[in-house]
Symmetry: C2
Subunit: 334 residues, 2 copies
């Protein structure tokens, strides 16, 4: 049985409008059959934070939502609490302080139960701190800035649901390029994964490959330091680091990236069926035009008439009519 | 005769303390023989901005400093003004608005005279707007943020002293990763060059290669999009762009990068002669130790005595004595 999906959310996920990420989470947890555990250990807020997610997940159709919130390592060893994770179909870890979360749960029966749940196919989602903790190597804390500088950040051990990676969150909004680059410069076996706010990196096992898919408004940024040249082993404190040859991938909504081969998965040419149908129609039209030209049987007025016919046949009323002209593909520059 | 050096300064260069960048500029302009033209066209400030650089360059030893400041294209066609550039040995363009600078001088006799000066070996320096204008393709304006988004910035034509590049400045301080990534995603023939504040990219012709050397406190960041996969031609306005496979180089002070081959120039192993001498001594010590071990003639006490001798012989008083032990190289982790 493959492991469950991981949903690594960069913080500030949309809770009021389209809720694309949270809707996908509830669906992955089983929709109307979902029984979801909310873990708010990282948060310094009271029960309110759990109440928000409880209301959200029920609103999105989940059958049951429970709060499981160890506040100390002692509680994380409490087998009654741990047993609560035994029959959930989804886990959601809130934001807050990832060092508190890792300090309480990593290396305890509670932490092990999360790993077990992942391995038996349960979806594990986390936002902000709850995202950071999922990788084997976790950004503990550290300042902003786009240039990597010696000792600007610290690494601690995460839960290790995602191996050989280091995750950072609020990536664009808090300008964390530099600290993630520092970490991969010092640990070039790791892939750096930076997730913007209201954006999720969804990691799924597909035919023995780990495939990362992007959902949401921002981007997921990946640093692959496999061929890096760096002076990280000798640079002085606070100096900018030499980090030469890092391969960078900025991945917006819908992109897929193979974490196993560290390559982009080529996008399907037309993701939208309506667009695919329209293009097929336009292709037919072009083939007819080619035949007419070959037969020397084309005039501007004949062309206009044929276009008008095609438009009536295939064009929904709200569509931009320029779309229909196969010689004028719509795009950024139009 | 090779072209003169370009000094591309990311803004806010140190004017009060070590003045590393401005000192290098005056040196490149001929030191005590230097006759420097300050061009403040980009600035909205009055003569004060010229007075500051006038005082600075004279304080750093320049023989003469003149202000040459066309404020309109008409003035940039004034051949008397243009003639002022005929016998300068260095040019310094101030910060301000690079669109004003390009609007006034690009494609005028004044702009051509700057290109001529560069080609006859004169050093051309510019800070902020005066940096941007040097590349063939210039960032016109645009917002901050580390994730590249469609249409977040605009490109205009620069002076073209540096071909096939687009320069951005205040790079870390104003968080301009995203806009430079957007530009190279849309123009993958260009190399993106982002320069931090108080940092200069010095470009010199060395054996038909253009070599970029970094001077100053921050870093120069290079995006090489030669192998990019992008959706820039079809992404919608304000959407994050797919920019996969960009090779990233973060280059601190002292780094050298070959713009012609787009590769890092390997650093010399020991840039500091004192360090090189110390390492040579430590190497001798290690060779002696290897001989002693081979001759089975070594004891811990003999080793301690020999180390003490070596230390007296080579160690300056203020040095960290752990430096002397060849088995304990000093570094970031110590």
């Amino acid at each position: 049985m493959p492991s469950g999906p991981l949903m690594i959310i960069g913080g500030a996920e949309d809770k009021l409008r389209q809720r694309a990420i949270l809707t996908e989470f509830v669906g992955a947890a089983g929709g109307e059959e979902a029984r979801i555990a909310v873990i708010a250990t990282a948060s310094s807020l009271g029960p309110e934070v759990v109440e928000v997610y409880d209301a959200l997940f029920r609103r999105l159709g989940a059958a049951d939502v429970i709060s499981v919130r160890p506040e100390s390592r002692e509680q994380a060893h409490d087998l009654e609490l741990v047993a609560e994770l035994g029959n959930v179909t989804g886990v959601f870890m809130t934001g807050g302080n990832q060092m508190k979360l890792s300090a309480v749960i990593c290396g305890t029966p509670f932490g092990d139960a999360l790993i077990d749940a992942h391995q038996r196919g349960v979806v594990i989602a986390g936002t902000s701190a709850g995202a950071s903790i999922q990788s084997s190597h976790m950004v503990a804390f550290g300042g902003p800035g786009s240039t990597p500088k010696q000792r600007m950040t610290q690494v601690a051990a995460g839960l290790g649901l995602l191996e050989s990676c280091v995750i950072d969150q609020h990536f664009e909004q808090r300008n964390r390029y530099g600290r993630l680059l520092m970490i991969v410069s010092e640990s070039p076996s790791l892939l750096g994964v930076g997730v913007d706010e209201d954006t999720a990196a969804v990691v799924e096992e597909v035919e023995d490959h780990e495939i990362l898919r992007v959902v949401g408004k921002g981007a997921v940024t990946i640093f692959d330091p496999a061929r890096i040249v760096t002076n990280a082993y000798e640079a002085k404190r606070a100096s900018p680091l030499l980090s030469s040859g890092v391969v960078l991938h900025v991945l917006p909504h819908g992109s897929r990236f193979d974490l196993t081969t560290r390559t982009l998965v080529p996008p399907p040419r037309f993701a939208d069926p309506a667009e695919a149908a329209e293009m097929a129609e336009a292709g037919k039209d072009l083939r007819q035009l080619a035949r007419d030209i070959a037969a020397d049987d084309v005039s501007p007025s004949a062309l206009r008439r044929r276009r008008a016919r095609t438009r009536r046949k295939t064009q929904p009323a709200h569509h931009d009519p320029t779309h229909q002209d196969p010689t004028h593909q719509d795009g950024a520059s139009s």
